[in-house]
Symmetry: D2
Subunit: 334 residues, 4 copies
């Protein structure tokens, strides 16, 4: 029985906590949140206790912590949890600063603990099936990756101001997809990256110093090519697709739809829009990723993501932000 503490009782904390509570072999022991009301309510609903972070980390019965608190606290909590010898699952990003993220990675390494990062797309049934089929060689070596990543609408401008910008806040998931699919988990790597973008949906976003639409090109050491297109607005919902071209063909991962109803009338043939947003689209992925975290804790197996993946995606996000600001590509030395 693994004892787990969840830090953060907000939207994503609630998802992780309730998924953890329903897993066999897991006891959700503590919920921590400065908002004591949220912590109490979540803990009560799931049969856990409220505790401060200090208390949770000090309790030797706690095997693992799940960090689902605001971005600015991630780095500090990783370092403290590592120091306390806890196994760690942390929502992306490790830290908005690559330097601090690397410090976290060092702390994790020193402590010899796991630190899985919440790149939940790697657990999405469709994306994951595509990845497996790629590894089975269905289309040969992947050569070109096209990623489409569109949110239904932008978050509040106050959020954007502290988000680190579109490349660090939103495209970090796409950079992880690039690494997962095309850089083949370390067997290849980006050597050239060019990004540009615009503010097209709301002038308030530009006033906050951000953009809402971005396109990125990446070339890897071995010449593989990746394009990412991202937008903070899609009138039709949450659009999360990618396609991979290889020697023998193409594998494309499409959106999930809520139902398979088709309507045909005078206006045309219509099917459902994609799942509305990330909570719907990645519902299964969120469950599967904490299940994986617990199972690997139990079995001692390898985790699908590590703090290193968090750092690497962060570096690509930084490079994209820099490329956009300068209007020039960024190159990476080997």
């Amino acid at each position: 029985m693994k004892q787990v503490a969840v830090f953060g009782a907000g939207r994503i904390g609630q998802i992780h906590a309730s998924n953890l509570a329903s897993l066999p072999g897991v006891q959700l022991r503590y919920v921590s949140d400065p908002a004591s009301q949220s912590a109490a309510s979540l803990a009560h609903a799931l049969g856990a206790q409220v505790a401060s972070i200090e208390e949770a980390l000090a309790d030797p019965a706690v095997d693992a912590v799940v960090i689902a608190s605001p971005t600015t606290t991630h780095g500090d909590l990783i370092v403290r949890a590592a120091a306390a010898g806890k196994q760690i699952f942390c929502e992306k990003p490790v830290d908005l600063s690559v330097a601090r993220a690397e410090a976290c990675a060092a702390a994790v390494r020193r402590a010899g603990v796991a630190c899985m990062i919440g790149f939940q797309r790697r657990f999405d049934p469709t994306f994951n099936a595509l990845k497996s089929r790629l590894e089975d060689g269905e289309i040969g070596v992947p050569e070109v990756l096209i990623v489409t990543s569109r949110d239904p609408g932008a978050p509040p401008v106050e959020y954007l101001r502290q988000s680190g910008g579109i490349f660090r806040d939103m495209l970090i998931h796409d950079f992880d997809v690039f690494r997962w699919i095309l850089a083949d988990d370390g067997r290849d790597e980006a050597v050239w990256l060019s990004a540009t973008g615009s503010c097209l949906t709301d002038p308030a976003i530009a006033q906050a110093g951000d953009i809402d639409t971005a396109i990125v090109s990446i070339r890897t050491r071995s010449g593989r090519l990746c394009q990412i297109n991202a937008s903070r607005r899609a009138a039709y919902g949450y659009d999360q697709r990618f396609e991979v071209l290889g020697f023998k063909g193409l594998l494309a991962a499409g959106n999930h739809r809520p139902t398979e109803v088709v309507r045909m009338d005078a206006a045309g043939v219509e099917v459902d829009n994609p799942e509305a947003f990330f909570l719907e689209r990645y519902r299964a992925a969120y469950r599967l990723e904490v299940t994986h975290f617990i199972e690997q804790l139990q079995s001692g197996g390898a985790f699908r993501t590590s703090v290193h993946d968090g750092v690497a995606a962060q570096k690509l996000a930084d490079a994209a932000a820099l490329s956009f600001e300068r209007g020039e590509p960024v190159t990476f030395s080997a």
Copy 2:
């Protein structure tokens, strides 16, 4: 808190029991099964107790029973549960004999209890969305219904021998779909039914006195038309679709696919087959139907299916079997 006993610890009993155990406001109190090992194992996994049917029905704390035992026991258990004043959820069919099914209905009526029948398709997200949109008038009055119902493969011949035949065992779900969609829950009704069929997949099925492929035509009092095509074999998996034509257009309900991966290679463009079989396709439906059962128990609201629906579908199945045997249509007097 509703206290529930589940009768039957086989495949479908396990599904209902585990769905019930995960619902808030429900205590899964007893599991009953003559196979005491199965009952014990299921009860243990879900924190329930093993009890005989007598014990469960005698316990005044039990509010409701879920009947998931073999078909031949349904009628008897409904009558006994009704006599004990328990609310009832029973898997289809009520009974393979219409006369006995009507006796059950009478017993339920006398007892004043609910008796929801497990026509889980009414809870399938796609079918249910179609039904709602139909009621919203999206295509006007439904006039024509085409139902496709194919199993990936036939059950063992020993099962088929006691199944009541393809019309009673397999098409009963399709007859319920007909009633739900086209007979509009009682506002219209079948007046003419013609069925035929063949044994095409395995001579052993014919030797057992059954067929494996069947087609049925139904006309309603108001002239609406329904076609059902069913097969015990589909090489590509479980095929569960229907389409409804109305004045303003068509609503079609397609199969669910496990993933949204598309492969394009020299051979063509390929997507996933439908979900493999009923446990996969109707996973959500099974959960939603017991959720509905409990919610209506709690709220006192109307149940989406009743013992009457079970009887009515059984009558259509009987008519189809008769039509097939005689090679002639069956007509129903108003």
Copy 3:
């Protein structure tokens, strides 16, 4: 160079004439139509001459005639063209009376001429590809055929009054599809047919003694099963599909769409409706069928349809009309 006369300068006559005029190795010599204005205009546009039917049949240079005149004239023209030793292409039906159609077949046989019947669906690229793949054994022996056949709207009631009714006028194409796909061009045959229908779209159709919605079930000697559903009204356009189930899988033939544009907006994901009606959907088929007719004339090869196919489809249409009227199935003796 094959010399051809076209009888009938209406909608379908124009299509055949202009397709013929564009084929290498063909001279469109005559156009005949009692409406001399139409004949003159069509002949002028395509570099042909106007002639009476007598003149055309009397001209020894004429190799073949294409009969695209009103249904009531087909039988007479076939007999006269056969007597004149001309090769014949005739629009469906041979004749609304099976007896007269059989007399035509006898006349054709006696004359030793070809008499291809205009079942253009056999030349539709999609339907034809499906048929070829079936013959290649892609899904094994075909066992079940489901045909959907819906017109966007009913023709004028005056037309319906002389049409022979929905089974003879509209479903005759579907009966030919049944024979082509499931009866395997003579290697199997219908032994049991049950039809019903309703007037659902316009009371004027009922007053004209016809129905607008029909469903038919057919069983063949070897136990194969066919369902046809037809409607004179589909708000979304012309719906022409069929699917064939075999041992190894399913082959389905869908509608053609004018374009491959997809729109995604707040309302859903939308693609084009099917091609509007038969002139659009079967544009390629009409061209391919006269091309085939000419090519087989030139090469002496076998024609894809014959007067026998016209007679056989007519018999099924008669049987369906009878079954509907009596409310009983029709059986065919071997």
Copy 4:
């Protein structure tokens, strides 16, 4: 009656010549080709005469010329045809040198003749329908364009050596799509372009100084964004798609398929690959573009493309080649 001479009797010359010969109001008068056998054969088949370019240009009866000769001859022929006062349709590109292309444009302007360039995608039924719907405001102002452009296989290396490279030879069509869709025919324009690429399919292509896979990003003056991905190899055929994101939604143009057959078997659900290559995919487009050319000649209306479009696409191709060589973006002054 418009008299037309076709220069070039190769693959594309044959297509244009035979489309022209079938149009009402056109007389295909001359075919010119240094390969006199090809010219004679094509002229004979279509009822035209063989003539030298000098003879054709000297004949005052000739209204228009269609230039379908090798790329290196385009510029010279445009200048000579313009000097002779002929209306011009010329295959892309105008010239591989922007300077010479601009000289052609000047010659055309001085002569006051039309010079339509063969960007046939603007006449593809799907692409053209998308463009019309865009202009109708279906999704609001277009903001993001994603273009996928993949050939089934690379042309011979000897061809590639003289082709001007992938950006000028292959992506020039995509640059025209960018201008047509996103630059809105002159109301906006590229200000920043970044290209990269690799040789992934065949080392011989690298040895010939070219690449086979390329990705391009473009930003316009108003901030609109375009991504193009192109490959000389797609195992599944010719892949020609684009999608446009606007305020109100997305319009996507997909591939055309030869048939609408769907197969479902144990391996999955399969539909046809896209049309095999450009001759198949753009068959309708080629016919529609010369029809448009002739119609505008007859009516005096505006042509959908001009020599200016040819020059502008060439400039983008040059910029992409330069960006790729330098590894840096190219910016355009207003």
